[in-house]
Symmetry: C2
Amino acid sequence: MSPLYGGIEAGGTKFVCAVGTGPEDIRAEIRFPTASPADTIQKAVDFFREQQEIMRRPLAAIGIAAFGPLDPDRTSPTFGYITSTPKPGWQNADLAGEVARALNLPVGFDTDVNGAALAEGRWGAAQGLDTVLYLTIGTGFGGGGLVGGQLMHGLIHPEMGHIRIPHDRLRDPFEGACPYHGDCLEGLAAGPALEKRWGARAETLPPEHPAWDLEAHYLALGLHNYICTLSPQRIIMGGGVMSQPQLFPLVRAKTAELLNGYVQSPQILENIDEYIVPPALGAQAGVLGAFALAKDTL
Amino acid sequence: MSPLYGGIEAGGTKFVCAVGTGPEDIRAEIRFPTASPADTIQKAVDFFREQQEIMRRPLAAIGIAAFGPLDPDRTSPTFGYITSTPKPGWQNADLAGEVARALNLPVGFDTDVNGAALAEGRWGAAQGLDTVLYLTIGTGFGGGGLVGGQLMHGLIHPEMGHIRIPHDRLRDPFEGACPYHGDCLEGLAAGPALEKRWGARAETLPPEHPAWDLEAHYLALGLHNYICTLSPQRIIMGGGVMSQPQLFPLVRAKTAELLNGYVQSPQILENIDEYIVPPALGAQAGVLGAFALAKDTL
């Protein structure tokens, strides 16, 4: 009998908790809004306790793929904490520790994007690859992934949305929406930037609106930089903003144009449609990433 | 008796070949200008054959830390080749293969920057760290390093100098010197850009020349992006341009200013002097990197 995992997709807006073994086998799932740490963690713990009783077997481990910034370093005294988030109440919340103590189970803990990259590598769009970038562009702009088969950590973990890119203020006078950096990539291209620049929520802008060409331009500048810095074997782009189907062809064409033949790889020169792709696991990537983190903690 | 290695620092201008075991034990060294592949490789092979005779013992392996672009993927049919370089004669030169066949020895092969990062990790400024960035800013702008203890490869290998950064054409009307991207970071901040912008070789510009403040600004934009993308535990900056001692304090201050407190790590907030550092191994980093590549191939 293969081990059963608990997964928590811990988002800033909602938590998704699930029990299962993989994409074909999600046995139970619950969703609830992210409230205070104490209440939210209690709801998750209650769900997993209940599921263990219903299924009459213990879970092998819990995985948590969480919003950040967070501390994913197992050797750190604050491992498992959400750290310097502006989200009220969550600063220095010991998310993984509370769950581990309440359920007496091993807990894997990483960023939502690292979890999603792991899940896409195991079951989705990045199988067989060891260096993969996973980006999510929605209310924020996050990035993570695998380099040489290792989840990206380092000093803390990447904050890819905050890179600085060229910003032509004649074409786009919008000053940027990032409270730390103004017109960094997140400040120019995440959902709130689109809404502030155009005065309408991104999903209400029609496909032929000039917003999308500009958006693709910024995203391509970001991809150019990530490709030069990380040399990923594939780039997976998810999140609410990327659910606009007109974006992928624009982003691919503009990225190739910016690279201008410099990176001489057939994946980019001939096959960019399979190089810059949407997630294969869709909305499941979060909890599946959490399952993968649970498995890897054993 | 510990194994004896041969190391080749294969630069676009000169080759350095050495025999030894580490920084305290370089037993012989030769330098010669980079000519045609056949002549240059023959000189290196002759040196190692001669040294094996003089020392009356065989080398255990050869390491090559080379200019690029190159193919560092052992599973690829062109592993060990210099690939799409503009350097006359060297396009698709089988550097590692020729050396391996002539000497009948295992050959480790990687970029000069990955080799230098490996050497700094083993003996220099990055000991005990698993995620380290090594940059060299001279006639070109290269970057490599370790992520999670693995040398960075991926699709090919990073080409970090070619990232796009903000370029204020009012402050700096120079259009950039990169033949592929114009005003990418290498196009704005490598040695040839300094020379073209100011009409004088970088090393002749006095420390108080405005060139250095602008240079530090571009380098800090690059570091900001690398920090957000890779989250390195330390950044080592070498190469001819960085031998200007006034640059390090400027680059550190401007990088901290750009990050604006966003990455909440004491290494950046309190200790940036030990976070952005020169190479500890200096001019030896090249052949020592080659020794480390030789060792790791066994």
